[in-house]
């Protein structure tokens, strides 16, 4: 058996008296210090932590890890997530004591190395995007979006344009776009895409007015299509006095190929955990630097990293700043990894990364076209979308069946503009052999859909679990071990289930 049959929680394995860590026994206080602390400052509630020895705990977690798919074990064609390889030298660098063990409030003269890394990284990001300055503070893409929308508001407010409350987003946008804008009180208006999956200029013009604050755009969009009329789009938005926001989720298609700054975008967020190879970590930490044009620099969060002669410093002096969006300076460990990635690839390597990502995506699209419907059948950038509409099974079923073939599912049921969407992004990290194996699996599944559709509908069949009961999970939530104990008591008392 490859995976241990053990599915107990650490809490359930716990046995009184076992220890998983040793701590110094010596104390400085001559008498019992803790007794002198007033009683109401002392914890009375029993702490239901597990009691296990180190070997048991290590086996517990290592066996858990084996129930996961990951990039280092599987191909992950997740659209818009850019699951590229996470280079090991990045991890090596982040683990160096000289970086890992730096306190954020040390004197600047003791942290010149990391400040130089941050300053140089910002410079590279400016070059890649064509923006004038970056804040490295946001902790993730959505946090970058929130920061970006705060900049939009600060900019319009400073010009006295307080009635600009409308934010336009295409119906193909990521859910974080409308959520970030709405969090700040903007009114979100969805623009219906045209038949070719792009922004419809007429629809855009209809909604553009002197109450529009911003258009948020992903380019290439979530269908993997470049907005061909991008220059007209940015021109019209600017003519109305609104700003353009670039969602950088899909920048992996564009390094060295085109720059959001040249297209006319005013604000850009990047996902270092997508384009710049920092690991996804099972859902973070990410990093979401935000770049802006010169007119928006005075509003950037503080501190910014700056260079003065041979020295690097933290600059708190940004007059109209929106303020801090995070404690300290950002997910610095992630910034360091992205810096190492850019230095390892250099200009040519970054360019090749985007080119190969585009080639791999188009190759898959051509090979899959024979068995699946492509949402918009024309050359794509780094990703493309299939539609399972009228196929007899859901897109999600195909994703689940792929797990049985040893591939992670593509992004399913997104973008919302395509019914039964299956969004595929292979990235540049995959070899032609892997792509061919994936195509083979997809063609097999296409056959199964016709010949034995239940096999697909009931998939997966080979994972540690079958499909979980989502309805039960949401209706009667069990979110902790204590909830489990509580539930057991309720059941024993005969409560209705």
């Amino acid at each position: 058996m490859l995976i241990s049959p053990d599915d107990q929680l650490s809490f359930e394995k716990s046995r009184p008296g076992r220890r998983g860590a040793s701590l110094p026994a010596d104390r400085c206080a001559k008498d019992k210090l803790f007794e002198k602390i007033p009683d109401h400052f002392k914890r009375r509630r029993p702490l239901l932590f597990p009691e296990l020895s180190e070997p048991e705990i290590v086996r517990h977690f290592v066996n858990l890890s084996r129930k996961n798919f990951s990039i280092d074990t599987h191909f992950y064609p997740l659209g818009s997530c850019t699951m590229k390889y996470n280079p090991k030298v990045n991890e090596w660098a982040a683990g160096l004591d000289a970086f890992a063990n730096l306190h954020p409030l040390q004197l600047e003269k003791t942290t010149q190395g990391i400040l130089k890394v941050m300053w140089d990284l910002e410079g590279y990001l400016r070059e890649i995007t064509g923006m004038d300055r970056f804040t490295l503070q946001p902790a993730a893409g959505a946090h970058g979006e929130l920061t970006g929308m705060m900049l939009v508001r600060a900019y319009h407010d400073a010009l006295g344009q307080t009635k600009r409350k409308k934010v336009l987003v295409p119906d193909s946008s990521h859910g974080t776009n409308p959520a970030s804008a709405a969090l700040l009180g903007f009114h979100v208006i969805e623009l219906k895409s045209n038949a070719r999956g792009r922004v419809d200029l007429e629809t855009l013009e209809k909604h553009l007015d002197d109450e529009t604050a911003c258009l948020m755009l992903t380019n290439p969009n979530t269908l993997g299509l470049f907005e061909e009329e991008i220059m007209q789009i940015t021109k019209r938005v600017h003519e109305k006095g609104a700003l353009l926001y670039y969602d950088g989720a899909n920048l992996n298609a564009l390094m060295g190929i085109a720059r959001p700054g040249d297209m006319g975008f005013d604000i850009v967020h990047l996902n270092l955990h997508k384009t710049f190879s920092t690991p996804h970590g099972g859902g973070g930490p990410g990093s979401g630097p935000v770049g802006v044009r010169a007119k928006l620099v005075p509003y950037l969060p503080v501190p910014l990293v700056t260079q003065q002669g041979q020295n690097y410093k933290l600059d708190f002096d940004n007059k109209k700043t929106i303020g801090r969006v995070k404690s300290f300076y950002g997910n610095t460990g992630m910034l360091l990894r992205a810096y190492v990635y850019i230095r390892s690839l250099g200009r040519e390597g970054l360019f090749k990364a985007s080119e190969d990502a585009i080639l791999n995506a188009n190759y898959l699209k051509e090979k899959l076209k024979v068995a699946y419907k492509v949402a918009v059948d024309e050359p794509c950038m780094h990703e493309f979308v299939l539609s399972l509409k009228s196929a007899g099974v859901h897109a999600g079923d195909v994703g689940k069946r792929l797990l049985d073939y040893g591939f992670h599912a593509p992004t399913v049921h997104f973008p919302l503009v395509v019914e039964e969407a299956l969004m595929i992004e292979p990235t540049e990290s995959e070899s032609k052999e892997t792509l061919d194996l994936f195509v083979k699996a997809m063609i097999e599944i296409a056959k199964e859909i016709i010949e034995e559709p239940d096999k697909v509908r009931m998939a997966p069949h080979t994972m540690p679990i079958r499909r979980p009961d989502e309805v039960m999970a949401a209706r009667r939530p069990i979110l902790s071990y204590r909830d489990q104990l509580r539930e057991r008591i309720l059941l024993a008392e005969g409560a209705p289930t």
Partner: protein, 445 residues
């Protein structure tokens, strides 16, 4: 480039497969005026050269690892068992995606569930989310939760709450109909209860306290939750999570929401991030909690299974009506905290909490006896305390840093009204000998 498998030959095969002669045929949609900009980035380095460069850059840092550090103020040097890194460096954990495909992510999901279980135990509250970015942003989200839950407009915050957290809160609420109001301090750096009470009214959605507070002092929070609940407002408590191993936890104080910085739970200093925002709340707030939640359920064969749940709160379902815009959080940091808390276990977490107090009380009493330095010996503390010096702190710091000692964090940069004060932190990582050596050098400053 050794991260990119496509060779020249492969590339040709791929182009043939697509049926184009050149990649530019695929880029026709990109206006030619935009195409192939000149980008000024240095050429590629070999891995050997990269390693050499990083070592050089690293040598420009003077790190805590090779110094004697008493820095805290929101980022703490704590002992981390070696097994924590063994867990977080498992490729199947750190190179995995968000566990949307539950069947292929049971490892991540069960570890999130265990993390949630451990955090609810530590804080004494009912529900923990899967993590937030850091202490400051989780506090801002807690304030937003209180404002929405009560449908009111004001949130009160103690001046003894970490200055970064208060700044982030103000950033988040700027331009919204919501206001933040601060209540002040007593001479001993606890919050002033009269000032707090004078600011209470029926528009207050919640009040935010920190204990141990920014100055390291334990706040007496007796009766505050009753007071707030009586007015229909929520109590939000920020704190150092290791303090709760031995000291009164948020649930015992009657807090509705507990938030803070989870970095002390097995996560390295890393110059300020990535860290871990923890977020726990009472059951009645379950459907308002921002961020991911992992729940236990069954699979179609009746086996135990874990899955992300109550997702109707989240941006990918609700879009502009979501409770928060958060998507990517700090999953791997939550995994580190999960492994750390499991390793420390029931006894260890209480012991480490007590050793922090032991070290901090010892160092405080030693510094208190030095001439030229003043400390308040009476206030209860956890692992840091304020020192006021007769001489400018900047000079003391300059001198000691040359001797590889980081004496503490200057308070004046955060509170201009407190001159020549610094915050000294002593965790379980310090020995009596190290603290004696520090006191000896401090005396000579």
């Amino acid at each position: 480039m050794h991260y990119q498998p496509l060779s020249t030959e492969d590339k040709q095969a791929v182009l043939d497969g697509i049926g184009v002669a050149d990649i530019n045929e695929l880029l026709k949609g990109v206006p030619s005026s935009l195409r192939h900009p000149k980008i000024n980035i240095p050429p590629a380095l070999s891995e050997l050269e990269v390693q050499r460069l990083l070592r050089e850059l690293g040598s420009m840092n003077q790190c805590v690892g090779s110094s004697l550090s008493f820095l805290g103020a929101g980022s703490y040097e704590h002992f981390v068992p070696a097994a924590v890194a063994e867990v977080t460096r498992r490729n199947e954990f750190y190179t995995a995606y968000t566990p949307y495909q539950a069947e292929a992510s049971q490892g991540t999901l069960q570890s999130i569930y265990e993390y949630q279980s451990l955090m609810t135990e530590l804080t004494g509250l009912d529900i923990s989310n899967a993590s937030h970015y850091d202490g400051a942003t989780s506090m801002a989200e807690a304030a937003l939760l209180a404002l929405r839950h009560t449908d009111r407009t004001r949130v009160l915050v103690s001046e003894a709450v970490h200055p970064h957290y208060r700044e982030v809160l103000k950033t988040y609420l700027r331009g919204t109909p919501y206001e933040v109001e601060e209540f002040g301090l007593n001479a001993d750096r606890t919050f002033n209860v009269d000032d707090f009470k004078s600011k209470l009214n029926d528009q207050v959605a919640g009040a935010i306290f920190q204990s141990p507070n920014f100055f390291g002092v334990l706040e007496d929070l007796e009766g505050l939750s009753d007071k707030l609940h009586g007015l229909g407002a929520l109590m939000i408590l920020v704190g150092h999570p290791l303090a709760y191993g031995a000291l009164t936890c948020p649930g015992e104080w009657g807090a509705d929401v507990a938030v803070g910085e989870g970095q002390p739970l097995g996560i390295g200093l890393q110059y300020g991030g990535p860290y871990l925002g923890y977020f726990a709340a009472t059951r009645s707030l379950m459907r308002r909690i921002p961020g991911r939640l992992c729940g236990m359920t069954q699979d179609s064969e009746g086996r135990r299974a874990f899955t992300l749940t109550i997702q109707a709160r989240e941006q990918h379902i609700r879009r502009e009506r979501a409770t928060s815009n958060i998507c990517t959080n700090q999953a791997l940091c939550a995994l580190a905290a999960c492994a750390y808390m499991t390793l420390l276990g029931k006894e260890g977490i209480r012991e480490v909490s007590e050793i922090n107090m032991d070290r901090a009380y010892y160092l405080r009493s030693r510094i208190g006896k030095l001439t030229g330095f003043e400390v308040d010996m009476k206030t209860p503390i956890f692992n840091e305390f304020v020192v006021k010096s007769a001489k400018p702190f900047s000079r003391i710091q300059e001198k000691l840093v040359k001797k590889n000692i980081f004496p503490g964090v200057e308070i004046t940069q955060f509170y201009p009204k407190f001159k020549n004060e610094f915050l000294v932190c002593a965790t379980e990582t310090k020995t009596r000998e190290q603290m004696d050596a520090f006191v000896e050098k401090l005396a000579k400053c």
